[in-house]
């Protein structure tokens, strides 16, 4: 195991009606004037926005609003949010929504207290300072509610890039599984796929003898396999929603990724798809993951055989472990299809003629490093596996 540090000081209020704690939590973490940041109309229509405002009013906490966050959140709205926060002297950013609202809120929180262009953070500058951030989560997916990460798309060139830093860890996150009951089956499945991707990206390691984190990752994928079909069949299954929601946080707060190299090549390769075609990140990952895994399988057959046996219930073929390894990838593909995810470029609306361009953009900063080293040629071959 490699040396590491782990610090995850987010306060989680989990369960039914937990959004009623928004006031006391903003107060506890020092907010006096809050930016409420959210996406489209569903947060308003569902009455959630009002249910968050009520406890803020009760705690005499001032707030302003900025809606309009889109999936694959854009830099334009971030600049707008930064200007607004500075003008209004906001001291706390509260995201209400999923990964997009939270990631956008993080960028605004860092940009507000930074003299330069916030995009610097998305080109590699560590995020060391930001306004305190809180979240009210409405979809189990990105894990941004407990992570130090944020992904933003710059309109100019449609570059989708990530930033990271301890200042990006939310001070508190409100996790009410009931809020996810109104999601469509498709949105739910996209979230589940993103969670599974966060787990595979950590599972695909070059570090040996990391049994504890291997086992934890397997446990969380097994949870997805057990719980996702329940919520697809019955959107109101609160218990299954709750299992998925907590698993989504644990999957990405990194307690099961410490001390080991991680991959993230599937995420990088997918980002080009969602940046260019504006598809859902989870849907893009469903198409991307099996292709990437098939391409890199020979790098460590045992790793893929282990997850095939332990997670997907495949029988180990000791004479031909690569068969078992492939069976595991097939099982993943079947599972993703069973919850309604796309598996091909065509289903995603992606186009073969864009492959070379996407591969080049993906490797703009050099070959991808992770479980396997992949240059633009490799990435193009992987995209072709998705045709």
């Amino acid at each position: 195991m490699e040396n590491f540090t782990f610090y995850a000081p987010t306060y989680f209020a989990f369960g039914k009606d937990s959004e009623s704690k928004a006031g006391e939590l903003v107060e506890r973490f020092g907010g006096t004037k809050v930016l409420l940041h959210y996406g489209g109309g569903s947060v308003v229509r569902s009455g959630l926005l009002d249910r968050v405002k009520k406890p803020l009013d009760a705690a005499s906490i001032a707030y302003i609003e900025l809606g309009g966050v889109k999936p694959n959140p854009r830099s334009g709205l971030v600049y707008e949010g930064i200007d607004l926060c500075r003008k209004e002297k906001v001291d706390f950013v509260l995201a209400i929504g999923g990964g997009s609202a939270i990631d956008s809120a993080k960028a605004i929180a860092a940009g507000t207290v930074y003299d330069g262009d916030f995009w610097d953070f998305y080109e590699g500058k560590p995020v060391e300072k930001a306004l305190p951030i809180g979240t009210v989560l409405t979809i189990a997916a990105a894990g941004s509610e407990g992570s130090p990460d944020s992904v933003i798309t710059r309109e100019d060139g449609m570059l989708k890039r990530g930033a990271s830093g301890e200042a990006y860890r939310p001070r508190f996150s409100i996790l009410n599984p009931a809020l996810t009951q109104t999601l469509s089956a498709y949105q739910t499945a996209c979230g589940v796929t993103d969670i599974i991707a966060h787990l595979y990206e950590r599972y695909l390691t070059r570090t040996k003898d990391v049994e504890v984190t291997d086992r934890m990752i397997e446990a969380l994928i097994l949870t997805m396999i057990n719980e996702a079909p329940k919520v697809i069949a019955n959107p109101d299954d609160y218990e299954a929603r709750a299992n998925i929601m907590w698993a989504g946080m644990i999957a990405h707060n990194n307690c099961c990724g410490v001390g080991r190299t991680q991959d993230w090549n599937s995420h990088c390769i997918e980002h080009e798809l969602s940046a260019l075609y504006d598809c859902a990140h989870g849907a893009g990952l469903a198409v991307t993951m099996p292709a990437v895994f098939t391409y890199v399988l020979s790098n460590d057959v045992t790793r893929f055989a282990q997850i095939a046996v332990r997670v997907w219930g495949c029988r180990m073929d000791f004479y031909h472990p690569e068969k078992t390894a492939k069976e595991g990838i097939d099982a993943l593909r079947r599972f993703l299809k069973s919850i309604g995810m796309p598996l091909t470029f065509a289903e995603l609306g992606a186009k073969e003629e864009d492959i070379e361009k996407m591969a080049a953009t993906c490797c703009l900063d050099g070959p991808l490093q992770g479980f396997a080293k992949l240059d633009a040629q490799d990435v193009a071959k992987i995209y072709r596996l998705m045709l």
Copy 2:
């Protein structure tokens, strides 16, 4: 899943030589004058104490020392530590050792800033305020390095009791698996048993449909089953030590215990044994757990069958699930024996004639509540199963 809050803001520095960070970490969390609190001579003899003092000196942090913590730490030394901290105006307590040193440090940290008798906390008063606490862990076992809990034994009546509160969460914990390589096989196995107990105590729940935490607990017990024999065979196996150390923290910081009722009856019943005979807590748990589980098995056969199949690799007997459930307990017993743990009263040096007295003390505040409700008569019967 039940509503819950989860807040685990401990900073972990994990890996080789991580004790060299003691200075910067005490500084980061506001300490200027530190009580170094530890047990017997091994911390001194091994040179660890000096390796902790060096970075403190380099950071110009003042410190005083209080050694002498014993296993099953006593109230007498806690009172001494409180007097010392007040007299010397200590503002940070750094425990160097295992659960005993850490639990004693927690009691001192709370008692120093409390006007009444610190024992109040061990009679149920929530711990709301304490000096900040740091730890340098030397045995993977108690999980106190990442938990809000502490257990102290009062000499007067040999009462062993626990206290809990967010102020008891260490600000930082230094986890260097190499420090555990000098432990004897017996000490190591006691630690492993304690970790397994923390997991079973959470597994035995009355809450239904908590797949995510079920799976996480199973993952961590599977890790123990895989890694413990390696360190018993080869004490210098750093990788196995590292897996056990991280698992020990995760097992008890409660991320796998949230949203579900927990048990803790095995701990309560064991506490009487270690209080009276001063045996190692882990050894006491090895004797206690199988007896408790056998006694309460009929309360939820399915629960015990699930862990038997998923963790212990038993084949499910669908006609006679109770057989599978019992097989799981037998497998636990065999595993504990294989790592050198005792399984009977005699091996522990416990005496049949003390049973009624222990059962009465154990239920002094009423029947135990947990997976099953157990009154003094039940507890006495459970002790008899250990004969």
